[in-house]
């Protein structure tokens, strides 16, 4: 009797046609991976993690943006972070529209054009020891090339968005062609936690910025997706990182396998890519795409899931499917041309 009951249970449960997990759950993994780390406590009740403190710099260039036909209405455009700096020439505020998630190590110089504003946002992912910020102020080695400029006062909305982790925020104006090093020595008042490793802990920050004139600026006019204003983007000079140089976000999907693959964005069909071909999905071209961020899911011809990615823009991305595996990363669309 027991054997029979157990056999029936086993058969019924194992042979049941069970549904597959919805794509939303895969998106949760990508979202969890993209979310900033939460504060953690150690076993010893310390406020600070015993692992090394991770420091992040966010560099952003702005001010090549020229508005044609009147000022942008900030409420009509998506300019979320609201990090702003005073532009010396006009006294106006330059605003950074988004922060990319493209990683460049500090050995690679950041390239800016004269007139660009270089924003530097340094975040410590855990509270530093001693209650003090680890670094002194960031300074430029050559103010004739890269000059510090004042930040605009925070609006009440910006104050609400204040980062919960220790950070510093500075802005520099690229004045003239040349090279300058931004550096921030460790503050003499800062002491590493007792448990910190003696080697490889926080060090001074150094970042080389090269200011160079773009070879031949090619103005292109691109309609803004969120307002009636027409924005004129000036194609930047060579930079060490890919960007959405052709306007809007681009996702190139390369299918190196023989079978076709299907790409969905936020749960909606976006593109089928035949074997051995590639397609570029463009944020602003019809058919309409969902607002970013995108949860991109790639499935094979038989419906099996190959992989997923969470994309926030603005840095263009490339997905490569090969051998039933999916890889993705930043993509410089200029290698293919804007088409």
């Amino acid at each position: 009797m027991t054997d029979d009951l157990e056999r029936r249970l086993r058969d019924l449960l194992r042979h049941a046609q069970l549904p597959s997990a919805p794509d939303r759950l895969y998106a949760r993994v990508a979202q969890a991976a993209a979310a900033p780390p939460a504060r953690r406590r150690t076993l010893f009740g310390s406020r600070w993690l015993l692992l090394p403190i991770a420091a992040l710099l966010v560099i952003a260039l702005a001010a090549s943006l020229v508005v044609v036909g009147g000022a942008l209405n900030p409420t009509a455009t998506s300019t979320p972070p609201g990090w702003v700096a005073v532009l010396p020439a006009t006294g106006a505020c330059a605003e950074l529209d988004a922060v990319g998630n493209n990683w460049v190590d500090t050995k690679s110089p950041v390239v800016a054009a004269p007139g660009d504003v270089v924003f530097v946002f340094i975040v410590v992912s855990e509270s530093p020891s001693g209650g003090s910020y680890p670094w002194d102020d960031l300074s430029s080695s050559d103010t004739n090339v890269l000059r510090p400029i004042a930040l605009c006062p925070l609006s009440p909305q910006d104050a609400l968005r204040a980062h919960s982790l220790p950070h510093s925020f500075s802005a520099f104006l690229a004045v003239a062609p040349g090279a300058a090093t931004l550096s921030a020595p460790l503050s003499p008042t800062w002491q590493p936690p007792d448990a910190a490793p003696s080697d490889g802990y926080l060090g001074p920050i150094r970042l080389e910025v090269r200011v160079q004139t773009p070879p031949s600026p090619t103005p292109t006019t691109t309609p803004s997706p969120t307002s009636n204003a027409t924005l004129k983007f000036v194609t930047p000079g060579p930079t060490p990182w890919p960007s959405n140089a052709c306007g809007g976000f681009h996702l190139k999907v390369v299918n190196e396998d023989t079978g076709s693959i299907t790409v969905t964005i936020n749960g909606s069909y976006a593109q089928m890519v035949d074997g051995g071909t590639s397609q570029t999905i463009v944020e602003w071209l019809p058919p309409n795409k969902p607002l970013m961020p995108w949860t991109v899911v790639v499935t094979g011809a038989d419906g099996t899931r190959i992989g997923s990615a969470y994309m926030t823009g603005p840095v263009d991305q490339k997905i490569i499917v090969s051998g039933g595996q999916m890889e993705y990363g930043p993509y410089d669309i200029r290698t293919d041309g804007c088409g």
């Binding site: 009797m1 027991t2 009951l5 157990e6 249970l9 019924l12 449960l13 194992r14 049941a16 046609q17 069970l18 549904p19 597959s20 997990a21 919805p22 939303r24 759950l25 895969y26 949760r28 993994v29 969890a32 991976a33 939460a38 090394p52 991770a54 420091a55 992040l56 710099l57 966010v58 560099i59 952003a60 260039l61 702005a62 943006l65 950074l96 988004a98 990319g100 493209n102 990683w103 460049v104 190590d105 500090t106 050995k107 690679s108 950041v110 490889g200 926080l202 060090g203 920050i205 150094r206 983007f233 194609t235 930047p236 930079t239 990182w241 960007s243 140089a245 992989g307 997923s308 603005p314």
Partner: protein
């Protein structure tokens, strides 16, 4: 034109890149477990919406606590434990929440719940659906996931003897509930 990059402090490139690689690896391994976790939760809860809810929370919990997983080979067992415990909590919470039956006309075009339908399709599974959460979890882990009683004990954080007694109790309960049916069939 605006561009933005994020870069690591010079002393941290190695640390950061290895952490990123670890995170990517963990994300891929976690994705491989999602189908199993969802089905297991669906079988224990008998409801796909609740299963999705539980597994979604489990993903976030697993991600936040990934540093505690020292052996990647144990990911499945580790995630199983998070999911099963969340399911048991969910079922216990049901007992404290008053459920109101909606009118039969509500959502007439809605798809029937896949897990709910499964438990209604068979008399034995309908009885499994009535078991207390712990017994139900043992049944699913042992008969569906094909785990040994020792492994079930590991997932639930119990001693093997406790698993044995819960399984025995569950089978007795099922047998008792089936007895009238069996008797009718033999007559």
């Amino acid at each position: 034109m605006m561009g933005a990059v994020t870069i690591g402090g010079s002393a941290w490139e190695g640390v950061r890149s290895s952490r990123m690689a670890e995170s990517e690896t963990f994300a891929r391994q976690l994705e491989l477990q999602i189908d199993r976790a969802y089905r297991m939760a669906g079988l224990i809860l008998g409801n796909s919406a609740e299963a999705e809810d539980v597994v979604g929370d489990a993903i976030e919990r697993a991600w936040a606590r990934r540093a505690q997983l020292h052996d990647p080979e144990r990911l499945q067992a580790w995630l199983d434990r998070i999911v099963v415990n969340a399911c048991r909590d969910r079922i216990r919470r049901r007992a404290r929440v008053r459920m109101l039956q909606l009118a039969a006309t509500a959502d007439p075009v809605g798809e029937p719940d896949a897990f709910g339908a499964l438990f209604k399709r068979d008399e034995l599974l309908r009885l499994v659906d009535t078991l207390p959460p712990d017994e139900r979890a043992v049944i699913v882990l042992h008969y569906w996931a094909d785990l040994t009683l020792e492994d079930v004990a590991g997932r639930l954080g119990w001693r093997t003897g406790t698993v044995k007694s819960r399984l025995h109790r569950a089978l007795e309960q099922l047998r008792a509930a089936m007895a009238p049916t069996d008797r009718r069939e033999s007559e």
